[in-house]
């Protein structure tokens, strides 16, 4: 391997190297960081932002944005609880089918919101920045409306398992994260759709004139992200065992931060799912470490913000070379 090749590989994986450095730093300075339990804990904590980040990565690569994912998580949690409550008539132990129907209804709702954002972009050229900003407020309001502002606790006793349960010692949300990774990674690397996503984000007109269905590509990405956010909402509703309208406030910023740290260009056409995963894991490890180090939460916020800037700088200098 030549020197330039080594440099190029290092450069492409710079965020991974920084993450490894952070691992070494934290492992040597924070007590209880490098235990299997804590590692699994980190993975469980990043499961929801992570799967949304995978969708968000595709949305940003295709040249759009979705600011409504935080509110989508909240409304999905509430909607699921509301469906179960209505379908079971407020029974103490609702039947399993009510939960399944509730899932289907919630996911369908989420998909249709993504579809709507895409169609608005296509038909009357409203930027998704605007539609999703509007959706951010609308969906948060809707979450409060259907719950009346207080959490709905309507779930059957086994429902906790989705968010808090373990299978073979690994938390269930971690499996869901792995599935989301597998799906988005496969799409971006091994399908015609993935190729189209990069082409559309890189140059929409060139993609259109190559006969790529630009709008279908964008709409699929937007719908997928909405659905991932809804699954995130379901996981959270299980974790707190209620449809709570106040959860996931500001989650969109965390997700977008992770995506940027992962080296995905906000201008579209560039970035990888693997990068998004590194970004999410980086934030998760950092948060966990700062807690173990006993940093005050306000300091944590400041550091998080500074890191996003730092990541943007690093990516800028890598791109320039």
């Amino acid at each position: 391997m030549t020197r330039t090749k080594v440099i190029s590989i290092l450069r492409r994986n710079s965020m991974l190297l920084i993450l490894l450095a952070l691992y070494v730093l934290v492992a040597t300075t924070a007590n209880g960081f490098f235990t299997i339990n804590n590692q699994l804990n980190i993975l469980r904590n990043i499961a929801v932002p992570g799967m949304i980040a995978f969708g968000m990565a595709l949305v940003i690569i295709v040249g759009e944005i979705d600011l409504s994912v935080g509110s989508m998580v909240a409304v999905s949690a509430c909607l699921t609880a509301w469906f179960v409550e209505k379908l079971s008539g407020g029974a103490f132990e609702p039947a399993a089918w009510t939960v399944i129907v509730a899932f289907a209804g919630t996911l369908l709702f989420a998909a249709s919101i993504g579809l709507m954002a895409g169609l608005l972009r296509q038909k009357i050229n409203v930027p998704t920045f605007i539609t999703s900003l509007a959706m951010m407020a609308t969906l948060a309001g809707l979450a409060n409306l259907i719950t009346g502002g207080v959490p709905i606790s309507s779930f059957p006793s086994w429902y906790y398992f989705i968010g808090s349960g373990r299978f073979l010692g690994v938390p269930v949300p971690v499996y869901l994260l792995a599935v989301a990774f597998a799906i988005t990674f496969t799409i971006s690397n091994f399908t015609a759709l993935g190729r189209s996503i990069y082409a559309v984000g890189g140059n929409m007109e060139a993609a259109r004139l190559s006969g790529i269905n630009v709008w279908r590509t964008k709409i699929i990405c937007l719908m997928m992200t909405s659905v991932f956010a809804a699954i995130g909402g379901i996981i959270y509703s299980s974790l707190v065992n209620a449809g709570n309208p106040t959860i996931a406030r500001g989650l969109e910023l965390e997700v977008i931060s992770a995506v940027i740290i992962g080296g995905i260009s906000l201008f579209g056409g560039k970035g990888t799912i693997w990068g998004a995963f590194i970004g999410v894991l980086f934030l998760g490890v950092l948060l966990n470490a700062m807690t173990l180090w006993g940093f005050n939460p306000y300091v944590q916020q400041v550091i998080k913000g500074g890191l996003i800037l730092a990541a943007v700088f690093i990516n800028f200098f890598i791109d320039r070379k």
Binding site: A192, R195, Y198, A206, A207
Partner: protein, 502 residues
């Protein structure tokens, strides 16, 4: 005198010698054409003279003073102005504001002195012999040719002794080119040393006093224009180059591949009829704004027709949109490679596999390995010079980028190819290769339609040439040694019916 003298001017990028030991004196008060194929070092030359990049070694003298600059601003102060191919005007500002951007005259209150600004601009226009453009007109309302002239006037407002023009005519129509030449001649009369870079060899006789050639980063020679016959020029640019001969073709003029009747797209054309036969190369000529590009877009389904019928191999196309036309074997290469032809940030590999997705991966599953044979076939078949196909396509020369666009469509096994300005911004050698490719495909039965501003290109390349004028095909020329002048006359002829097109 303020001639521009260069001594041993050299630029190395790593081990690549972009320009190597360029030594020459460009006399003042003359137009010096600088020619060379793509990648010969012309742009490096321009960038070094304009201060955008610094020479590895060598010196630049303007008149007697040595010019050492590290920024374009310093080059400007030293009396060197440069007008690049890409316009850098602000569309929403006025002509005068653009010319004096960053140094607008102000009143004592700090507000802009509009009257003085417009007067200064008027004076500037007078000095170069008058321009029929209002200083207060918005740039966005001007034609590309007028914008190009404003760009030159802006450069002139810095009172340069040396003016570099990088392909100023590449986006202009014939009449606008004449206006631009008149402006350049007036500047020459003012004693400015003009370096004129162009791909259009036909222009040299009209505007240049000397012709200087660069080949592979090396100064080849400089001859006065009366000695610069086409063979001499080609020889300087390419060394030995075999003559280009259009192969004789036997086209069966029955059962057209593509047949269009009464095509209308307001306000561009209202009654277009023609047939395209298997293996035919059909040229479409017409003035800028005659609707050539729009016609190609409509044939490709990228623009919706107002009315008319299209038949491919005898079957009427009910809904001509891009997916339909693509599935019928129609391909389209855009006149605007950068913005509509290629995804610049993606690799050559990825750009070669955009249009052919359905052929490469019918099931929707794709891997690099599956794409690779398609990529390699086009790189070999089209002689595309790519170092590593995984590197961004933006790093390739214009000619090679154009071949990638063509290769992208070849991977969709096309039967009808629509070429919009295939030779724009590529050098003579690359242009020949593209024509040879069109002919080679024609022998295999692929039909092509070529649109070009350069009428010489059409007479060189096509079997038959249609002239689009007044919204219809006004004349048809079978190409057996026709003179581009006849086609030009047909393009320019006065409308036959009054008010045929608004």
């Amino acid at each position: 005198m303020t001639e521009l003298s260069l001594k041993d001017l050299t630029k190395h990028y790593g081990s690549v010698k972009a320009l190597d030991g360029f030594t020459h004196v460009f006399e003042a008060g003359q137009v010096h054409a600088l020619i060379g194929k793509n990648g010969s070092g012309k742009s490096t030359f321009v960038k070094m003279i304009s201060g955008a990049v610094q020479p590895t070694r060598g010196t630049i003298h303007v008149g007697d003073s040595e010019a050492n600059f590290t920024t374009p601003r310093q080059a400007q102060d030293a009396g060197i102005a440069t007008v690049y191919q890409e316009l850098s005007l602000v569309p929403e500002l006025s002509v005068a504001e653009n010319i004096y951007l960053g140094r607008l005259p102000k009143r004592r209150s700090g507000l802009i002195d509009w009257r003085r600004l417009n007067r200064l601009t008027e004076e500037l226009f007078q000095e170069i012999g008058g321009l029929e453009i209002s200083p207060s007109a918005l740039i966005a309302d001007l034609s590309v040719g007028q914008q190009q002239m404003i760009e030159i006037v802006k450069a002139m407002s810095f009172r340069p002794q040396v003016l570099q023009l990088d392909e100023p005519t590449s986006a202009l129509a014939q009449t606008e080119v004449q206006h631009l030449f008149a402006l350049v001649r007036r500047l020459r009369a003012l004693g400015v040393t003009i370096i004129y870079i162009t791909h259009r060899l036909a222009e040299l006789g009209m505007i240049a006093d000397t012709v200087t050639a660069i080949r592979d980063g090396v100064f080849v020679g400089s001859v006065p224009i009366d000695k610069a016959s086409p063979p001499v020029i080609l020889d300087m640019m390419f060394g030995d180059l075999p003559p280009l001969v259009r192969p004789a073709t036997q086209i069966k003029r029955e059962d057209p591949v593509l047949s269009v009747r009464k095509l209308a797209l307001f306000p561009f054309f209202n009654d277009v009829n023609f047939d395209l036969f298997a293996g035919e190369v059909l040229g479409i000529a017409g003035m800028l704004g005659s609707g050539r590009t729009e016609l190609l877009h409509a044939l490709f389904g990228a623009r919706k027709l107002d009315s008319g019928t299209m038949r491919v191999r005898g079957d009427t196309v009910a809904m001509p949109d891009i997916p339909t036309m693509k599935s019928l074997g129609v391909g389209y290469t855009s006149e605007d490679r950068k913005h509509a032809g290629l995804v610049q940030m993606l690799s050559s590999h990825a750009n070669l596999c955009l249009a052919g997705q359905a052929k490469i991966a019918p099931s929707g599953w794709i891997t690099n390995g599956r794409e690779r044979p398609f990529v390699e076939r086009q790189i070999a078949g089209l002689h595309i010079k790519v170092g590593d196909p995984m590197l961004p396509v933006a790093s390739l020369s214009g000619g090679n980028q154009q071949k990638i666009v063509v290769g992208n469509w070849m991977n969709n096994a096309p039967e009808i190819l629509l070429f919009d300005e295939p030779a724009r911004g590529v050098d003579v050698q690359a242009k020949r290769q593209i024509y040879e490719l069109i002919w080679e495909k024609a022998r295999d039965g692929v039909s092509s339609i070529v649109v070009s501003t350069e009428l010489e290109d059409l007479t060189e390349c096509c079997d038959r040439i249609l002239v689009l004028r007044d919204g219809q095909i006004s004349e048809t020329f079978a190409n057996a040694g026709i003179d581009p002048k006849d086609i030009y006359a047909a393009c320019m002829a006065a409308p036959q019916t009054v008010g045929a097109v608004s």
